[in-house]
């Protein structure tokens, strides 16, 4: 490891400068490792999972731990200093930040990875437990947290103001441990920005928080072009304290996750040509059993085989060796693939294969050794593993027009045996005013005993115009194999013209509803199910909007006319009209006489 092998030099297209810096890092690292002064531990893991419909889920997980004492003393080792200082300054004890784009197709792909705990609604979502003495202080710290994070992540988090902040009561509970803290001093605040377009400018600061900063290890795969072409992608940061129940030592943990779902066929095709031109005739897979099948007619056959792919095909590059911080004894796997058993997986030669666990094949990365996985074309296609989600949720607007509207959420419990308790949370902007009396939860099929009351608990915080939004939290019980349809009507407020955003008027995004399923036991074996959360898609609310260019035109026109009229009228009014012969001739002599006259006058006074 002290010297680069000729092979590894080949793949190092770095300039000498970067080579030196790399060497320097390695040496420093060596010194560090030799002294074993590191108290922080770091893990990174990539899980690849083919999904049905020729999709691939890539879940990146980066996790580091460190003693909370050194964190409190601002002794940051692997914990990112920039983030750590913000958290300390704002007294944030637990932080959850989500960036998401696209939607998770649970019909096709099944349950979300990590029980949906790592995914947020479209746009940006942030919730945190802030330590404060009272509500006002908490609010102030929350604002400074948002502003600081906004700068750190290049996102408009500073727009999370009081109108977008809610304080969920039932939906969230802390995941960290707070043994030495008074629970009443912790304030939970939650804000969303559904309109925020997540893009590369958010990825770069995200990668900078990692110890290897995307230069080595699995994070080398994270290229903005590929990440943001994914059908679904979510980035998350979770910071929480963890205490050992045995000795009471507390650690601070930061977890960074990226889940992305790649459309394999689209990614492969993008590699060949950015434009999906019609395929050549011989590339088409046609159904030759059709009576009309010929050169002119082609009934296309789909999904007749599994597409061949490799990491470098999909991500545009392969993994550039392991991240030095993630090399540990005993060894932990870095890359795992959960392909169906009958699918062939070919890692790069010489890769150490870790003992496979629960159907996954895992591999350990070596430093400075490129790693790639190739899956060949497979005919007939394999069936990817799919875990049935606990709940399907879909939300849409009903009605049309500029004045009123309705929201309809369909919650379906696919389980045939177990009923499920869920908490439904809506955070609505103040200009969308729901009528609580229209809130209705209908059970399909209707219950036999006629007791159709599905809402067991309701928490509602009404909106105040321009001050805060509506928060609606409802606890529902959905019986097995049935559907609950939650509907309510709302009124659209008329905004002041300055309240419209200065961008193109696409409409106003309404944040995703958050559906939380608390931890419970289910099935005949009473197995534990951890807390799960599901988010619906966001909605686009169109409000009555003036044609802004029109008033401006009118203003410009009227102003011009007024200026013209005013100018000429004032000109007429203040001007004294005299005949030409009345005008006094003012030659030099006259002027001098006038001056003398003035002087005399003043003297006389």
């Amino acid at each position: 490891m002290t010297s680069f092998s000729p092979r590894s030099l080949q793949w190092l297209p770095f300039s000498p400068k970067s080579l030196i810096s790399r060497l320097f890092t390695t040496i420093t690292l060596f010194l560090c490792l030799a002294g074993s002064t590191f108290a922080d531990t770091y893990d990174e893991n990539l899980l690849l999972q083919p999904l049905s419909g020729q999709f691939l889920l890539a879940s990146f997980n980066f996790k580091s731990h460190g003693p909370i004492q050194s964190f409190n003393k601002q002794l940051f080792e692997l914990f990112p200093r920039s983030l750590g200082q913000i958290l300390q300054y704002t007294h944030t004890r637990e932080l959850h930040l989500r960036f998401a784009l696209g939607r998770w197709d649970s019909e096709l792909w099944g349950a979300q990875p990590g029980d949906g705990q790592n995914a947020g609604g479209t746009g940006v979502e942030l919730w945190a437990w802030v330590e404060a003495e009272n509500d006002i202080e908490a609010e102030a710290r929350w604002t400074s947290l948002n502003n600081a994070l906004s700068g750190l992540f290049c996102a408009s988090l500073n727009f999370i103001d009081s109108t977008r902040t809610i304080r969920p009561v039932m939906s969230f509970s802390p995941t960290g441990d707070f043994p030495h803290m008074n629970k009443t001093d912790l304030f939970l605040l939650h804000g969303t920005l559904p309109k925020e377009p997540v893009c590369t400018e958010n990825l770069t600061p995200f990668l900078k928080l990692l110890p290897c900063k995307g230069k080595s290890g699995i994070s080398t795969l994270l290229d903005g072009h590929k990440l943001f072409d994914a059908s679904f992608q979510s980035m998350s940061i979770d910071v929480r304290p963890i205490c050992s129940p045995i000795n009471g030592h507390c650690d601070i943990e930061i977890q960074q996750n990226i889940d992305m779902v790649l459309d394999i066929s689209r990614s492969l095709q993008r590699k060949d040509s950015p434009v999906p031109r019609p395929r050549d005739q011989h590339e088409l897979v046609c159904d030759t059993t059709k009576s009309y099948a010929s050169d002119e007619y082609c009934y296309p056959l789909d999904n007749s085989f599994d597409l061949p792919w490799s990491l470098s095909d999909l991500f545009g590059r392969s993994i550039a060796g392991s991240c030095p911080f993630a090399v540990k004894e005993p060894q932990t796997p870095h890359v795992c693939i959960a392909a169906p058993h009958d699918r062939q997986v070919h890692p790069t030669e010489g890769t150490e294969i870790f003992a496979s666990q629960d159907g996954k094949q895992c591999f350990i990365l070596r430093e400075n050794q490129i790693f790639d996985i190739a899956l060949p074309k497979q005919e007939p296609p394999t069936t990817p593993l799919r875990q049935e989600p606990l709940l399907y949720a879909e939300r849409s607007f009903t009605g049309h027009g500029q004045e009123h509207g309705g929201v309809k959420t369909v919650l379906r419990n696919p389980s045939l045996k177990d009923s499920i308790e869920v908490v439904y949370l809506e955070s609505l902007p103040w200009f969308m005013k729901p009528y609580l009396h229209t809130l209705n939860a209908r059970l399909l099929p209707p219950p036999l005993d006629g007791d159709g009351d599905v809402i067991s608990e309701l928490y509602y915080r009404p909106a105040l115009d321009r001050k805060r939004g509506t928060q609606l939290e409802a606890k529902l019980v959905i019986p097995a194999n049935s559907v609950v349809i939650v509907t309510y009507d709302f009124e659209k407020a008329v905004l002041r013209y300055t309240e419209y955003p200065p961008d193109a008027n696409r409409g106003f995004d309404v944040a995703s509803a958050i559906i939380t399923i608390p931890p419970h036991r289910r099935g005949s074996d009473r197995r534990n199910v951890p807390a799960t959360s599901i988010r619906t898609t966001s909605l686009l609310l169109s409000l009555p909007t003036p044609d802004f260019s029109m008033p401006y035109n009118v203003i410009i026109f009227t102003s011009t006319i007024m200026a013209l009229a005013f100018g000429s009228i004032i000109n007429l009014l203040i001007r004294r009209f005299v005949a030409v012969d009345e005008v006094q001739r003012m030659d030099i002599k006259g002027k001098i006489m006038g001056l003398i006259g003035k002087v005399k006058k003043t003297k006389a006074e």
Partner: protein, 616 residues
């Protein structure tokens, strides 16, 4: 303080009356003439793209090549399903969509109108925009049978092929929904109603949904190779899609694809005055009828801009050209940042690239309506609206009063506000209001009866509505005292015309063409007065009124399309029950009552001449 008419004007009231008459006739003449001026270059404008985000025709369209093989294969599949029931069709189409990895839903619907039942099953698929957030969607629709009930082979096959082709693009910012509606009239309506959860109990809810629909393109392509694209744009109740959408389609097909575009079935548009006028008038007829001209019509009341691209004729263009056109239009729609709002929603098109906007054309309908209102005002001012006997009494009274005042030599505030004889308002108002209430009867009858009995009921109704005003005028003539007889008819006409005039000017801002055409047909009402002294004039008036009655209009419309009257009535009933079309309401509850009141006045002349009443 009382408003007093200057004495000289009161004495010469006929000057005012003539001025009013001249003004009202002048308004109508100018209104009609200004409509005829619209096709001229000076009054119409060239179309232009107002929304810069659309960028029509700025991208290369790639559809073609091997994709056409797929279209041809799908066409064979569609052909083989030609005679199947709609659920078999829906199942097969759903299977094809599903194999392309799209989210598929089906929807059964059933409507009842004019004794007929309209059932079918729509099938649709949602292509999730990669990276999209399900907030917006655009729709590509192909009816299984087009508006002429011909199997839309090419359209359905092309939609199926495009659904696979679009899936391969990364650039979609909005979801794309592919709808194969069971027919061209009820199916799209059921689908769009259910999409907004505003459907009736006989229409199934949609299982899969997406975001707010921003635009709709319908493909109607039953034949093989074609010559030109016919763009249909009229919506229900004369609502129109945003002009930018039409301009985009026209610009793409003409300038990018070299495909001729036609409007309003003008297959040979030479861009002459005659052709422009004809296109405009055809557009106005469609707008006035407010019916559906294709599957796109159902979307427009939901403020979703929609057009139908129908192929026409035999030429050298094939599914590739149409596919590329649709692809390019979708690329433009995909560029939209905002809902269509930039361009006009109120316009009359007279050539694919020439239009007049509301500011230019509105005065003509308004002037016709104003003509009617002015006539009503003239009738009110006219001293003949006052009863004769009381005229004398009141005149005497006022004279006495005046005498008293002058004798007293004091300035007393005049207590007689409306000096002069009183108008008797009860009978005329009851006639007008009664007639308008009676309008509900034909409206209800024609919406509830069966198609089979429709023609007979209609002829019975004509007889009734010809005889009814005559009987009524006879009744009024015989029961009312002679001095109040003529003022009664006079005031009835006044109120009826006032209501019609005001209603039409309001309607003109919503549905210009309907307002204009009803105004045009109602012009004889301006002159329909009781003429007890001249029976031939009354006869002439009566014939004129019959020729411009709502029935005559119905016969004209039937003749224009070569259909029976019962078909038109069936269409109206279908329109009311399925599309929520308001034209029958306006015809039966606004126009027909006005016509009845006109008839009462005219027919009174015959009764009067027979009874020799009111001739003095």
């Amino acid at each position: 303080m009382a408003l007093r008419v200057p004495v000289n004007l009161r004495q010469n009231l006929s000057v005012v009356l003539y001025a009013f008459q001249a003004l009202s006739i002048g308004a109508v003449v100018v209104g009609l003439a200004s409509l005829l001026l619209l096709p001229l270059d000076e009054y119409s404008r060239r179309t232009y793209i107002s929304e810069n985000a659309l960028l029509p025709g700025q991208v290369h369209a790639y559809f073609g090549g091997s994709e056409q093989n797929i279209v041809r294969a799908f066409r064979r599949e569609v052909e083989s399903l030609g005679n199947s029931t709609s659920n078999v069709v829906a199942e097969r189409i759903a299977e094809i969509f599903r194999s392309a990895n799209l989210k598929v839903g089906t929807q059964r619907y059933s409507y009842k109108a004019a004794g007929g039942s309209y059932t079918g099953e729509n099938v649709y698929a949602v292509l999730h925009a990669p990276r999209g957030d399900a907030t917006e969607a655009i729709v590509l629709c192909a009816p299984w049978k087009n508006i002429d009930h011909i199997l839309n082979e090419g359209g359905v096959a092309l939609t199926l092929a495009l659904s696979r082709y679009f899936k391969r693009w990364s650039l979609w910012s909005k979801d794309i929904i592919f709808v194969i509606s069971s027919d061209a009239r009820a199916g799209p309506q059921a689908w769009v109603d259910a999409y907004h959860d505003l459907h009736g109990p006989n229409v199934q809810s949609l299982s899969v949904k997406s975001g707010a629909i921003q635009g709709v393109v319908v493909v109607d392509y039953p034949g093989g190779r074609f010559e030109s694209l016919h763009i249909m744009y009229d919506g229900i109740n004369g609502q129109l899609p945003n002009l930018d959408l039409i301009n985009t389609a026209v610009q793409i097909s003409r300038d990018q694809m070299g495909l001729r575009t036609d409007l309003q079935e003008m297959w040979d548009h030479k861009d002459t005055y005659n052709h422009r006028l004809k296109t405009m008038l055809r557009g106005m007829v469609n707008q006035a009828l407010g019916h559906s001209t294709g599957p796109h019509s159902s979307f427009i009341p939901y403020h979703i801009d929609a057009i139908t691209l129908a192929t026409h004729g035999e030429g050298w263009h094939d599914e590739g050209s149409l596919g590329r056109t649709v692809e390019s239009v979708f690329r433009s729609l995909n560029n939209l940042l905002e809902h269509f709002h930039q361009s006009f929603f109120f316009y009359l098109l007279m050539a694919p690239k020439r239009f007049v906007s509301i500011g230019t054309y509105l005065p003509s309908a308004m002037l016709v309506a104003v003509g009617l209102t002015l006539t009503a005002i003239r009738l009110w001012v006219d001293p003949r609206s006052r009863s004769k006997v009381e005229v004398e009494e009141v005149v005497v009274k006022t004279d006495e009063k005046k005498g008293e005042k002058s004798e007293g030599g004091k300035v007393v505030v005049d207590t007689v506000i409306d000096s002069g004889p009183k108008r008797q308002l009860f009978l005329p108002l009851s006639i007008v209001i009664g007639a308008h209430f009676c309008g509900v009867i034909p409206f209800a009858v024609f919406n509830w009866i069966d198609y089979k009995s429709m023609a007979n009921v209609f002829y019975i109704f004509i007889v009734v509505s010809v005889a009814f005003p005559t009987l009524l005028s006879g009744l009024i003539t015989l029961t009312t005292s002679e001095n109040r007889l003529l003022p009664t008819f006079h005031l009835a006409r006044c109120f009826s015309l006032l209501f019609l005039g005001m209603f039409l000017s309001t309607l003109a801002t919503v549905n210009f063409s309907l307002s204009f055409l009803i105004g045009l047909f109602s012009l004889p009402l301006m002159f329909a007065r009781p003429t007890p002294t001249s029976v031939p004039l009354a006869l002439l008036n009566s014939i004129l009124l019959q020729l411009t009655s709502p029935f005559a209009a119905l016969f004209i419309v039937a003749g224009y399309w070569g259909l029976g009257v019962e078909d038109i009535l069936k269409e109206a009933s279908f329109g009311w029950w399925v599309w929520g079309m308001w034209t029958p309401v306006i015809v039966w509850c606004v126009w027909w009552p006005a016509w009845v009141v006109g008839r009462i006045s005219v027919d009174a002349s015959f009764v009067m001449s027979v009874t020799r009443k009111g001739r003095s």
